[in-house]
Amino acid sequence: MTTTTKDYPPKSKKELLEELEKLQKESAERKEKIAQMEAAKAKALSPKEDDEKLDTKQAEKALSQIKVKKSFTQVTELINKGYKESAANKISGIYGIIESQKEREKILVSNPEIKNSEKRLKTIRASIEESQKELNNLLNDIENQDDPEKVAKSKVAEFIDEKTTEALADEAGKPETDEEKARRLSEEAKAVLEEEENAKKNLEGLKYNFVWKNKRGDSDLIYMYEEGTFNFEISGKETEVIVYEKKTEWKESKIKRMFTLGFKKFGKEVFQQKPSWSTYVYTENDKLDKKYPKEYEFNTKEEAIKKAEEIINEGLRIKFEEEKKFMGISEPDSTAEPVAISSDADTKPENKGSEPISPEPTPPITPEKMKSYEEIIKKADEERNALLEKGPQSLRIKNGVLKGVKAWEKFGVEQRNKEGEIIKEGVFWKRAIKMTTNLALIGLISMSSVEYLAKQTSAISATALGGSMTTALGKKMFIGLGFGTLIDLNGKKIPSKLKKWMPIIMGIGGLGIATGLAGAFVPAAALASGASIGLGYLSSKFIKGSYTDEKLAQKKQEKTEKLFKKYAETNGEANEKNLENFEKDYIKLLKHFENLTIRGKLFDEGAKILTGSVVAGVVLGISGATQDHRLENEHIKETKAESAHEEMAKHLDDLKKQHEEAVAQIEKLDKQHEQSVADLKDQQAEIKNSENNTDDSNSNENNQPAEKNQTPVSQDKSEVKIENILVRKGEGIEHSFIRQIEGNAELAKELGYKGEIDDTKALHEFAGHQAHVVAIKTGYVDNQGNEVRIAEADKVGYEIKMEDGHVSVIEKTSTGEIVETHNEGDKFEDKIEKVEYVKNISQNNDTEATINSSANNTTIDTPKVEGQNGEYSTGEQINSETGLPVENIKSEQINPETGLPVENIKSEQINPETGKPYAETGDGEKTTSTESSPGSVEIYKELTSVEIEHVDRVFDNNIDHLFRERPEGEWNSIQKLIPADRILELYDKGQVESHFKPLVHHIIKLEEVTGLHPYSYDPIDHPLGPEKIAVFMTRALEEATRIGKIDEVTL
């Protein structure tokens, strides 16, 4: 046999035997040593007989069947279960396995003819090496520790730690589920709310009033621990003494995971280390810091507190010494030993210049002393009243003084009737201001600062007591915020003793406790920030799941601070209106971020839907979820977390369905649009052909301007559709022009359009402008405000024609007969056709014609009006349905800057703030409202400016009525994104959320009362889309006003 493998260096038999012999010798020595140790250990441990479930033989038998790699685990398990001797035997078993492998090795070496002996030998040697290594490690541990059980347990703990770390790492990568978050929030909320109780409990029997709270550790392994803090200062140097619980407590979920590792014991006690307590001081005072430089560990809380008290005592001693030195006082006031102030452990104390005091100071004043003080004041009061009575002041002054004092006494405190019932509750911020003012009155602070304080405090405290924050926690946070601001703003003016005393006197002595998230003495900005975070926390209770992210929270905080600042700086006066406004703004802000958060959730869920659909979905569906979440989360329960999750999933499904429907609808509309474009192109081609024919046969007409007012001279031979050029109900001549320019790309280009034909907005603007230009060029409008209007709809058409860059207009009857032709350069028409009339829009109502009309418009009295070009007939278009005069469209005014017709642009604009189209107003004259969907104007209702204003008010009122309880932006979103006809369609299908039904009901009511209906998309009449909700509502409200039924549609 040759041993020429590449990866195993050849050894001679002799060498191998020597090596084996050496190993055997070593093994024998170790075995002997183990046997000795086992004997000693067995003696020491003296296990109970019944513990020994396996005898040595059994163990050996079992071990012989176990592969070497698993032996270690088996050993640790056995040890852990108490089978100590068996475990020891197992160690021997491992050794036995090694021995047996060596025997096999020996055989192979001795018998090289055995098949695959080289390969097998290699495997065996590797196995021996590995087992030997493992055994050596184990034996080393036994030698070093001299306690195999301890070693084994340590190994078990290591193993579990390793697995747990892995498990935690796995878990850290997973997003927190709704259920987990709900539970966490619930626990956090409980913890915060329990802080007060804990604090109260811990106050008893302690020399110093520590602020106790349960804190969340910075590791998932440390679940919650207790911490007490005590703050004071030494000559302006912050000092904080901290006592905290050192423990490791495992989350239930982690324990469950450990169960899977075979750890069979139950309960936290297995994993929770016995807690110890630590005390340390954080101070900027060098003396104290040097004296207590480290963290001191104790077995009990009491011991730790005792140490803390020692540190505090020493700190106070140093403080008095330093103050004594500074003040030059020979003896410190021994009675003035400070006790605790409260502070939030999460925030840096800012108690500069103050002394620590107790929220409930032990009154050193005896009852007798107190009584004497009261009597002194009472006497002074009586004397001053007597002086007032007898003084030289007039009765009016006396009464003024008494009334002033009385008013002041009432301010800010609760008022009771004779029965002792509260008839007016005290308001925190008023009380705070009153107390501050009292301090000013006795000369401790500047009176001029009171007003300033009032501004700040009132604005900030408004929400706390205004009803929007109903939870105790919320109120407390705001109180903390308001009061903290009050303190800070006057921080340099209020003596430190007042800083300490005011929170106590205001009933929020444990402000740090009360606010939980905002400390008593932090600066205003920090407080605002703290409150913002607090609100974020509160909000997060309202919205579960992974909706909130850091960016949102940060943005929200910034916005909140900005809001506070804004009110503090500009709206500071403490009146009810400001408070109300502040509250509204704040609620808006909160709701805004709720919406953002919900949208974020949608995207988190990976809903691959178009933005429009998302927003529409938010508006129609998810905002309902917001409300539901809010309600649900006020009572966080695990089961609800599940149902909310399902609900969200359902909403997403609904959204997807809506999106699919929307896509289908868009496709349908696209097809319709394509068809319409094709039709129009055909028409244009036909028109061109007919023009060519006409040009050929009527060449004279192009060279010589046609006579005006001529009788029909020829039948129109072109095939242009007459309905495209007819002036319809409510339209003017320019509308006919606009329609032609928009519908005829060549015409638009000939008139100078340079843009894309597909750019409907640009084309529409161009058409509006050019229509007016054409009207002026061809004599239908002049620069004095005169224009030719049409008295009867659908009777006459005005066809634009282009020839060598010159424009002309052919007037045709509805039957296609040419009435006359207006060429470029013609003067304003001084003789008009029967169906036409002239209106001068620059004149006021006095020039308006009085119209005698019949219901079918056939008889129009056209009184004479003196115009620029002589005597014109005037008249009004009559509404064929109502028989009432209808205001015609105003002449489109050209914006000198843009060159665009003002009318066209304005009619399409929506006020982003109100969500309704901009209203036109006038100065008492008749005002024309021309709300319509782009591309056509359907109605012109004659309303006075007062009526228009009333419509505006009703509109605003109705929107407020319908949406005031909804998140901000909801109305804006829906009125921009959902057409009126679409929401009605969704309603019919039962797909509108319940909270939007009032809006739909209102739209239906408007339809019923006015007989109007929202426009739908129409490639000809409404090419830019269906009528938006706001546009329809405005149109309908105007109609309701006109027919005298506005009250019926006022909510």
Binding site: G400, K434, A440
Partner: protein, 97 residues
């Protein structure tokens, strides 16, 4: 000697009293000052201003408005308050001693 240095707050050891009592005591002291201040400042008001003052105190207006009004109408209002507070302090400190 100490009492001379002490203000009304310290003189009556307000911070050593139970909170409710301390607040009440502060209010009573402040009322004495405020009354004295009103006695001094009301005669300084014009007829019109006095009428305005009466409207404020008779109505259900915020007391802050009252102080704002007085601060605006009386040029050295803050000084007057301080003087009256000091007068009361001197007057009462003798009795407390």
């Amino acid at each position: 000697m100490d009492n001379i240095k002490k203000d009304l707050f310290d003189l009556f050891q307000i911070d050593q009293m139970p909170p409710e009592k301390g607040e009440e005591m502060l209010g009573r002291l402040a009322k004495l000052v405020f009354q004295a201040v009103l006695v001094r400042v009301l005669p300084m008001l014009s007829e019109e201003e006095l009428s305005e003052y009466e409207k404020i105190v008779e109505g259900d207006q915020d007391a802050v408005i009252l102080f704002k009004f007085l601060s605006e109408k009386i040029e050295n209002f803050d000084e007057i308050v301080k003087e009256e507070a000091e007068a009361l302090r001197i007057e009462l400190s003798k009795q407390v001693e």
